[in-house]
Symmetry: C2
């Protein structure tokens, strides 16, 4: 198992100069002995330009033609990366999605990868070539080009890594890892050397935009170990050491929980701003009432986040509270008012301007009292908790938005995540 | 035979607005009842940008990667054309070279088309779709993308027309046909309604840059009738009439000689500026001497145009004169001096600043005296002739460059090509 997949995003291949920087990382790994498959996004800005052209051509365009146009972006960056690598003495060749082939379904514009035949890639790598694969795209059963939707290049990289059974899939981006919190909010946030797939999933969907949720799900399902690393770190100083010694990977390794020896109870604290809450009081409680409420919102494509339903005193009435993004608040209220006949309640109320704070950590499973200590830590700062939801590895609370940053910093310190002062 | 191929060059698809203009021409032909296959170049400027990137990435890049990068340009314009057509109510789909497939050899960067399987295109057209095919590219036996070299889109269009047995291949460009001479030189030049393949070939290689020589050769070999038309003419005013009545095609029809009822003796007069001439006197005449002289020039990749060799008096010595572009003159003299040992001669001399004037016409075959009348017409204006070469349908003379425009206008008038004054 000496195959390595290295994925570079749009800013990492934005121009020839950046492509050279990215190629220096590839060179290092090739010299270390890896057989490397590179996956690239389009040059930053290109995809937007192409998307704009298709919209100018017609706002109601055929998704198959959209895909044919937009997929050209990665074809360019992959070819240029292969040229730059070759010029550095590293034989390389580019593969478009259809040349690999990366087989997808025919959901043009947001296709799902069905399977990847690794034969061509393995053959090329075993012939001493670095393969450069276009991210974000594949080929439908019809033989037409498909794209995977925004952020799909991470997913391509993970799928390729699974297909060639790579030791690891390194995602190169413009940050150098996954942090315990957003450093702009919690200045003492530090980089996690390891994080479990489950934690990463919660973090990704909670706004840590380092990895696309879909790619983490796929990595977890396929047991592909991910590393999040920065293209802009010095390629040569960034040496990992011999193959297989990836406990020293600069950046963050996203892996299975049992690869993490010293589990922290809490790995990260996240903040989601701009939340609104809506409460229905005295809802007549009968089977299907929740489905009726949230069906009305789903019909309007309103994404609901936290949902809390209390057991009613007498078993006949209940209170339901949920959150939506601030800017969906009016739409949500309107949707509920216009479908009043579908369910009965006494009062509807709500407010905007809240924030959701979450603490995440696989260690929670084996440590009781994380939630209660969280509530205590917030109470100590005089922060009022409006809503609480919990999952196995996450506890979230809704608070007033103005206390959001204070809450994050307090919890970050409380759970021992602050880095030592220098 | 109701298939029609319509080819649009880079300026005709330079932006969405121009693509709409081009699509209006397609719409007209679809309404007239044709099953249409469109062939597009890349948006003007795109190919240069892509070529520059490959050069920036490495001046010594792999031609296969160059092709992968550069071929993306037509993928974009083909997709956008399909979207615009669909938005006008004309169902359309794009085909990349490999999707057609257009099979080429593996001479990346300047591939030759081996064959085109028309099955997919015919099936799509018979299903009521307009096919939009990427020009300039195909797929090698290895499955990698090839490009045909500059101007290859015309060749793609002709090859597609031959494959689907199209009634005609219309080449839309920024001029509205082939003219009897360059209107900037001979203001009375008029558009030819028909021109024979052979004439067009002579004109194309003599600097009438409307059609690429290679595409005319292919059209002649495959008996594909071409029309040269302007994208920028009003699409609706440009109605040809019922299918098959292309004697009214606006623009110029390039066809077999026997389709031209009233053959003119001379169809066009052309001017090539910036010619230099070199004369070798007293060359020892033995078999292979010409090969030695011109081999020395070919080694330096100097393109020789006119060649005149006189029979020697005694059969032992001869004079050889030939022309090269002005800016190759020094290089040519140097090449000949450095290979003196390969052949013997008395004197080498030469000069720059000449022009080649040619009169072209298939009618020459059956009309004696075209050459002599040409010489007389020039003599009447006091223009001295330095060199003469003739082919079956062309007579060329070399004169001083300062007389070039006068010579063209004089001959244009002399052979009755001037349009009537209004």
């Amino acid at each position: 198992m000496t195959y390595l997949v290295m994925k570079f995003g749009g800013t990492s291949v934005a121009d020839i100069e950046n492509i050279r920087k990215a190629a220096a990382h590839v060179s290092r790994e090739v010299k270390a002995g890896y057989k490397v498959c590179v996956v690239v996004s389009a040059m930053a800005g290109t995809t937007n330009q192409l998307v704009n052209w298709t919209n100018d051509a017609s706002p109601l365009h055929d998704a198959r033609e959209y895909d044919a146009v937009v997929a050209s972006g990665e074809q360019v960056s992959a070819g240029l990366m292969a040229i730059v690598l070759s010029s550095m003495g590293i034989p390389a060749r580019s593969f478009s999605g259809w040349q690999v082939p990366i087989n997808t379904d025919d959901a043009h514009g947001s296709a799902r990868i069905l399977d990847i035949d690794p034969k061509n890639l393995l053959e090329a790598m075993n012939d001493g070539l670095v393969c450069v694969v276009t991210g974000f795209q594949g080929v439908a059963p019809s033989g037409r080009i498909t794209t995977l939707g925004r952020g799909g290049s991470d997913t391509s990289a993970v799928a390729v890594a699974a297909a060639v059974k790579a030791e690891r899939c390194d995602i190169y981006t413009d940050v150098n890892g996954v942090y315990t919190s957003d450093p702009r909010i919690a200045p003492k946030a530090r980089r996690l050397s390891r994080v479990a797939f489950e934690e990463m999933l919660e973090m990704a969907s909670l706004g840590a935009k380092v990895l696309q949720t879909r790619s983490v799900e796929l990595a977890m399902a396929q047991k592909v170990r991910l590393a999040v690393r920065s293209t802009f770190d010095d390629a040569d100083a960034d040496q990992v050491g011999p193959i297989g010694s990836d406990h020293n990977v600069p950046g963050t390794l996203v892996c299975e929980e049992d690869e993490i020896v010293e589990k922290q109870i809490v790995s990260g604290v996240t903040l989601a701003r701009g939340e609104a809450k809506i409460t229905l009081r005295g809802v007549k409680d009968y089977p299907g009432v929740a489905a009726a409420v949230f069906g009305a919102l789903a019909d309007e494509r309103i994404i609901v986040d936290m949902i809390v339903q209390n057991v009613s005193d007498d078993g006949r009435e209940t209170d339901i509270t949920f959150t939506v993004p601030n800017d969906e608040y009016d739409k949500a209220m309107k949707a509920l008012n216009s479908t009043k006949d579908r369910f009965e309640y006494d009062v509807i109320s709500g407010s905007t301007g809240h924030a959701k704070i979450s603490v995440i950590g696989v260690g929670m499973r084996s440590h009781a009292g994380v939630a209660s200590s969280m509530f205590k830590a917030l109470a100590d700062k005089g922060i009022n908790i409006m809503l609480i939801t919990t999952s196995e590895i996450k506890t979230s609370v809704l608070i007033e938005e103005e206390y959001g940053e204070l809450a994050v910093r307090s919890l970050h310190n409380y759970y021992g995540l602050d880095k030592a002062d220098k």
